[in-house]
């Protein structure tokens, strides 16, 4: 078994795990973590493709590597935005539920804020 096989199966499982967590975990923060888990699996799959494309004295194709580096940074900024939204939601409504029709608790925030 080569590194490609071992880590390839690992990465595919991580995508599946992340998807499961994203659907079944009710807390938004857990959904964000699960989504990151899924993203990390996708990045790893990309790394596997790059590893298979090892050539010209390089152990890993540099083009997928560069794209993954860009992807990691974008994933981080999306996570930061999601968490800022979540913190604002909990600040405004006093809870982090994603269910519709939940009344916000008494004005914890000035109107229009």
């Amino acid at each position: 078994m080569s590194a490609v096989t071992v880590f390839g199966i690992c990465a595919a499982t991580m995508v599946g795990l992340g998807l499961y967590g994203l659907i079944t975990n009710p807390q938004p923060l857990r959904k964000i973590i699960a989504f990151n888990l899924m993203g990390s699996g996708v990045f790893l799959l990309f790394g596997i493709i790059g590893r298979r494309g090892a050539a010209a004295g390089m152990g890993n194709d540099p083009v997928p590597q560069a794209l993954v580096i860009t992807g990691v940074v974008v994933a981080f900024s999306a996570t930061a935005l999601a968490i800022a939204l979540l913190l604002r939601l909990s600040q405004t409504t006093g809870s982090t539920t994603l269910k519709t029709g939940v009344q916000p608790s008494a004005a914890s925030d000035p109107p229009g804020g």
Binding site: A12, Y20, L37, L44, Q65
Partner: protein, 313 residues
Amino acid sequence: MSVATAFEIVLAAVVLGLGIWTTAVRETYSATVGFVAYGLLVALVWVRLDAVDVALTEAAIGGGLGGVLLLGAAARLRNTELVLTEAPGKATQVAAAVLAALTGAALAGAVLLLPDPAPTLAPTVVEHAWATGMTNPVTNVLMAFRAMDTMLEKVVLLLAIVGVWSLATDGAWGGHPGPRHRADPHGVLVFLARLLPPVGIVVGIYILWTGANHPGGAFQGGAILASMWLLTIMAGLTDTPPVSSRRWRLVLVAGPGLFLVVGLAGLWLGAAFLAYPPAQAKPLILGIEVAMILTIAVTLGLLIAGAPERSVK
């Protein structure tokens, strides 16, 4: 089975175990800690895949700064999570499990059945390395051959900052992001926040500089600088800057701004948008990288600090 293969199997098993634990554990705080450990071990997987540049990024941003972000959020949301009892029904759970298993199996099958020989762009990258004068192929791809991606990614970082800032309440607009941290002035945190930044700043700049020819670059160096800045903020030695400050906003746009200017100059003087003249390629790229490391460090730090919460007094 060789030692290397055995190590890889154990590493994959531990990574998987952490992934399962992160998904299944009851407490959100534990899940966060699991995810941080997962991020650091995934960096090791990247090393085994011979992608050291990605490993550095994953460890610094995925494990390190991402961990700070998630742990901070988990700590602030601790009280609100207790009241939640809205787990989905059994049917949803089974359906989700089936869907996840099918997705995972399809991807695993795709990985095992990939065509041989695999397509690769590595020889093309090596062939054109002369055009930039740098020998790190990943930096060449990031800063020259696919410079458009990197520039747009800087714009994404800017948009994320705009998004986070726009969540401020009316009263706090233009103020300092996040809470004002206080720590025991004789405690370990303050001691480390005085001791580590000089070392960390040198390491961050070194990683930027060495990125031209060895693994490293502006992303990894910027993440290290950001973590040093955050350390002093969390120890209460410095405060986050007010978001209305023009000087700080200038730093935020410096990276993508300079990138855009050089790109447009390429359109005017050279062959195409973002085409560097080969003779000046290396100084131009290094100049962009210096502006970028500052922008990345400040953006990452401010993204973690969050929305403005305290108005300027």
